[in-house]
Amino acid sequence: MSAPARRAALVYAGPALGGLALLPLLDFRANRIVGGDGVMAWAATGGSAYATALLAALALGTILSGSQVLRLALALAALALLGWMAGQGAEALMAETSEFARVSLGGGFWIAAAFLALAAADAAARIGLRAMVRIALLAGPVAALALALQTGFFDDLSILREYDANRDVFDAALAGHLRLVLGALVPALLIGLPLGWLCFACPRARAVILPVLNILQTTPSIAMFGLLMVPLGALARSYPGLRDWGVGGIGAAPAIVALALYALLPIAANTYAGLSGVPAAMREAGRGMGLSPARLLAQVELPLALPVILTGIRITVVQTIGLAAVAALIGGGGFGTLVFRGMGQAAMDLVLLGTLPIVALAIAASLAFDAMIEATARGEAA
């Protein structure tokens, strides 16, 4: 293994082990609200000295291993072991106490999990896997996690207790979040793509459109919600019929409008950049052979611009998934509901229950787009 790769491995494995050494693997609390006692990874109850030693060995292996494939395998094995330790530890702790007690994941767990995941991702990137293979590779750990959740292995962890207690809220939040993202994305695409084309076809329009979208992009999201409340509220008052469609000063409608406005710039700007990146010779040749402007756009310009346009949509989707959390502030629903409710109740596990699915959605969307971008860029580089 090359020296930079080894240094990178050190950067991941070091903090992972350091986190576990200094911070607790689990937090044990007598009930949901009181402060907790940290349980270190090697503790007699809830921890395991053998498992900790094995985990350390696996993490050190990622530094010493000569091949990236082995590094990837070691990092994934360490992640699995970490998950097992958390589930097992929670069960052991809960076996001795009342049902009001809570066991949540501690700082050591999160740091170790994050850095081991980074180590795995780094190794996968250095192998140079195509996006489709990366997706297939990710399916393994995801399936393992799903299986563990299904069989109730993690049921003693407080985050799943929270899930159990808030199942309806969680499902509504998931549906609400997806509605926000798709609701913003569809109009943003319908408006942003033609705007991008207009920027390309007409420089005078570009001089207006791009600066306006830039201003929209830099408006803070809370301010944007506030700005939209007034006109949308007025609209709903003047035409009460619109309320049946969810239009109003608060709720999902202003959130979706705001998210769509934020989505416009990356879509329009990348559409413009992609179209202007098509070499002039190709346009000239196409027109010279008798392709009409519409055919030239559909058969030559758009396909050649597609990787850049998809990159813009990818940015938009990931951005919207994250930003949609804020919509809960104005009653827009989504995972933000869980986050803000958790903050209000000082229940960190509820916050996590809202945050983790957002991260998972963003990663999934980003991987899917990577695969699409790779597929559309074929031929040119061949």
Partner: protein
């Protein structure tokens, strides 16, 4: 000229205040190749692009095979005229075969006819259809891409080819090979062509007639030999280059034109072929220091060519 394939009359185009093309007129006969030469910005490309209406003229008219180009829909007009540009402009997301089939597809040819035509063209330009057809343009060399560009322009069997610096971006060896290849193909297919170039040598190699342009006007339009023997004063004289005009005239003639009979014999060490140019024969004579060279075909002497005959061709006043 009756039955001109392309006829241009008083064609004018302004860009802002600048006159790019100033009331020019010329005709190209069926099967003839005309070269438009001049420095950058002389209006030669603009003239070419007005013929297939990529640029609309301000004044004047273009006739294609006797029909006014304005009466035809621009896209339909362009589908009937092959167009080759310097950057080649092959579509990188399409295979070579798909690129060549662009215009036939637009014209709605059926699949089998398109496939047959693509294979025929690939063979004509020295490719193996099964091997080259499925490749993407990025996998080809510059010379190969330029060949495919010409093949694509010829795909729908147009009678006219417009070429803008078609071989400009190639190295000299590849360029010369493609020029010879193109000359052979256009002779066989009877194509009418207009070639825009700033390279006088390319014009001499490819064209039957040459139009020298400057500042939007045609200063002189003539056969290569007449242009060399009688260039107008000023720009034409300067652009054509008179230092080596005798040698250039020799390069326009072939050995077979001057070959005298000679007794049959095996080929000697030094000889020329009937299709070599007089320039090549002259060079060999100077190098060898002789008075005559054997003309050899298929390893047998079929005639001889004499230095005095060659010199006479390159002399002022000869024709």
């Amino acid at each position: 000229m009756k039955g001109a394939m392309i006829r241009v009359e008083a064609l004018t185009r302004r860009f802002g205040d600048a006159v790019a093309v100033d009331a020019i007129g010329f005709e190209v006969a069926r099967g003839e190749v005309l070269a438009l030469v001049g420095t950058s910005g002389c209006g030669k490309s603009t003239t070419l692009r007005m013929i297939n209406r990529l640029i609309e003229p301000d004044k004047g008219r273009v006739e294609i095979a006797g029909r006014d180009a304005r009466e035809m829909a621009p896209d339909a007009l362009r589908r009937g005229i092959g167009y080759v540009i310097q950057g080649v402009g092959l579509f990188p997301h399409w295979t070579v075969a798909r690129n060549i089939s662009t215009v036939p597809r637009l014209l709605g040819w059926d699949r089998s006819r398109i496939a047959a035509r693509v294979d025929e063209l690939l063979e004509l330009f020295g490719f193996d259809p099964a091997e080259a057809g499925p490749k993407y343009p990025a996998a080809l060399s510059g010379g190969q891409q330029q060949r495919i560009g010409v093949a694509r322009a010829m795909a729908a069997e147009p009678e006219i080819l417009l070429m803008d610096e078609p071989f400009g971006a190639l190295d000299p060896v590849t360029r010369a090979r493609l020029q010879d290849e193109f000359t052979a193909i256009r002779r066989r297919s009877g194509l009418t062509a207009i070639i825009v170039t700033h390279d006088m040598d390319e014009a001499f190699r490819l064209a039957d007639r040459i139009a020298v342009m400057d500042a939007g006007r045609i200063l002189q339009i003539d056969t290569p030999e007449r242009l060399l023997r009688g260039p107008r004063e000023g720009f034409v004289r300067q652009f054509v280059g008179l230092d080596d005009r005798a040698l250039r005239i020799l390069s326009l003639h072939r050995v077979r034109e001057l070959a005298r009979p000679a007794p049959d014999a095996p080929a000697p060490a030094q000889w020329v072929a009937p299709d070599d140019t007089l320039r090549e024969a002259a060079s060999r004579l100077i190098w060898e220091g002789g008075e005559a060279l054997a003309v050899v075909e298929a390893d047998r002497v079929t005639g001889e060519i004499r230095a005095e005959d060659i010199w006479r061709v390159g002399t002022r006043g000869a024709a």
